[in-house]
Symmetry: C2
Subunit: 353 residues, 2 copies
């Protein structure tokens, strides 16, 4: 076992698109658990678009990461030391452990995981924050009904791909928007989307959407904003519901982008647009996870992961995520899943793929 | 009694701000009621911002007015001839009679009025479409709670002035935005608004709003859109509710105006923005009117009207409305309220003020 902890800290506040030099890999002494605390060996670290917002020095729903501070983020890991009576060595847990190999925790916000229910990594994806975001953002904000047309932006990502599949389970017609032909093939070929548009090669997104949504758009689950939303809004139906989950097209802008004023369309169509954060549904999370796990087992819900290895590659994975280079959930694997090979951690390059 | 009917038709589709030459005053023979039809002598004609949209050749929630067609609009009037068993001569009615002195109707969409409940003109204002718009748009879309801060744009108009007063009845702190010092004085001096801003003379609307809303904005009732909304959105609180009623700042634009992309704020604040049309609440209209009539009687609800006389002045009144020249409800009076002086109609200039 390593004697040092490796962490990624924020080295500089990014201007526009983050660069690798905005992050710093640091070595620090292995953390020591205090009273009621425990140490988690992080196996998978999640990188997510929302993290871009935390890198700015601007108040938001969560405080910004400070320069020199370890980047925040969710992970799944195994408890390797414990002074806690509630959390024991060997247990698998998920929590907001940060971008580091070993995390100290007092159990706050930490959930124990039963590894028999689903693969460990899914607790950062389909059964974790992105899956819950998809579930609640679609079902609780948009209330899709069978036969309705649902459009999902960034549908090749961890959230969008799940949104589309849940909408299919609900009996909707589902149109995805994504940024590569490989994603499009996956969405329509494997996940059952009715159609998907590669916005990077489509010469006229608005026209293509109009063609693929002949009965208009009832539900729009938006991860992207910007010109994608501009193309969707003129096609919404009366009483359309728009779930604002993310605005990834705007995360790297250095000054507020200008776009057409389209709010009048919401009046004309008596439509609703609602921003949400997954935390607001915390009370219902458990039952949603159970339902999603059943769908997973039943094969109605599929997922895909893009996994890079080693904490040193987390910044690269995150930058690629913002560029849409991942398919499905972007993960960073920091250690082997198998406890018996815990000393073969990912940085050794000996962990099985 | 006149032997001819005078009407205002759409002469040309306006480009930008409507001009008087976009309208035409025509004389036509007095309409003759068919089977089950009746003739209404229109006493008050309502001019409203939504009419600007009907003048464009663009599909919306209602079909556009055609060139040469009589402009549509609500009125209050007295039945002077009738072949209907339901509607009798002498009864006062309100309905979508159009910009004309005498209207033929089969009773569709026509409501009988009890003149004892409230002044006739209020059925086009506080008890009519603008009042219902204020009532439902505030109470059913925004659900204001006592102690919350409510901001109302175009608060010197027929809808906004009512919105603010209902919000005060609900126990809210109410800040109005309007376009003249006379309106500001009326809102704060007579209607009980906590504060009001003259956006035409205020050098920094965002800063002024921040000063007047030290605890942020919980509810925004928007009649205006554009730069007003740009100033409001950064101040919204968590779980804010935004009722999109109108976007009058955009009605005369010849191409879609550009503005800052601010939808990310809705995510950060888990806020909801909803467009509505008053018709969607038709089932609840009667009870709302009763409630509003009680508030009127009790003096909790006050109103003001800007009245011009004569159908020939309707275009000017409408153009002035779009410029914000009216205070409260803009009306055009076409005839005397008193049935005994029905022959002294407004065009004679002999009707009492």
């Amino acid at each position: 076992m390593a004697t040092m902890n490796r962490q990624i800290t924020l080295a500089a506040r990014p201007v526009g698109e983050p660069k690798e030099s905005d992050f710093k890999l640091v070595e620090s002494p292995m953390p020591v658990p205090g009273a009621d605390e425990f140490i988690v060996r992080v196996i998978y670290l999640s990188v997510d678009p929302y993290m871009r917002g935390r890198m700015n020095d601007r108040p938001s729903y969560a405080p910004p990461v400070q320069i020199g501070e370890v980047m925040g983020g969710s992970g799944v890991g195994r408890i390797i030391k414990s002074n806690s009576r509630r959390f024991r060595v060997g247990e698998i847990v998920t929590g907001y452990f940060g971008w580091e190999e070993y995390a100290v925790s007092n159990g706050s916000g930490v959930q124990k995981i039963n590894p028999e229910i689903a693969p460990l990594s899914t607790w950062l994806g389909v059964l974790g924050m992105p899956g819950m975001t998809a579930y609640f953002g679609l079902l609780e904000i948009c209330h899709p009904r069978a036969g309705e047309t649902v459009v999902v932006s960034s549908s090749g990502g961890a959230v969008g791909a799940i949104v589309g599949q849940i909408a299919k389970i609900e009996g909707c017609r589902v149109i995805g928007i994504a940024g590569s032909d490989e994603k499009i093939d996956w969405l329509t070929g494997e996940l059952g989307f009715d159609a998907a548009i590669n916005y990077k090669t489509c010469p006229d997104l608005a026209a293509k959407l109009a063609e693929l949504c002949p009965r208009g758009i009832d539900v729009y689950f938006d991860n992207v904003g910007g010109v994608t939303t501009d193309a969707v809004l003129p096609l919404i139906n009366r009483k359309a519901r728009i779930s604002l989950c993310g605005q990834i097209s705007q995360y790297n802008v250095t000054e507020t982008e200008m776009g057409p004023r389209l709010l009048g369309l919401l009046i004309e169509k008596q439509a609703r647009m609602e921003g949400f954060l997954v935390f607001q549904f915390a009370q219902k999370m458990k039952s949603a996870q159970n339902r999603m796990a059943l769908w997973l087992k039943g094969g109605q819900l599929k997922y895909r992961e893009t996994v890079v290895k080693g904490i040193e590659n987390a910044p690269k994975a995150f930058i690629g995520l913002l560029r849409g280079e991942n398919i499905g959930k972007q993960l960073v694997q920091l250690a082997d899943e198998n406890p018996d090979s815990a000393h073969h951690d990912a940085r050794d390059g000996t962990a099985p793929a």
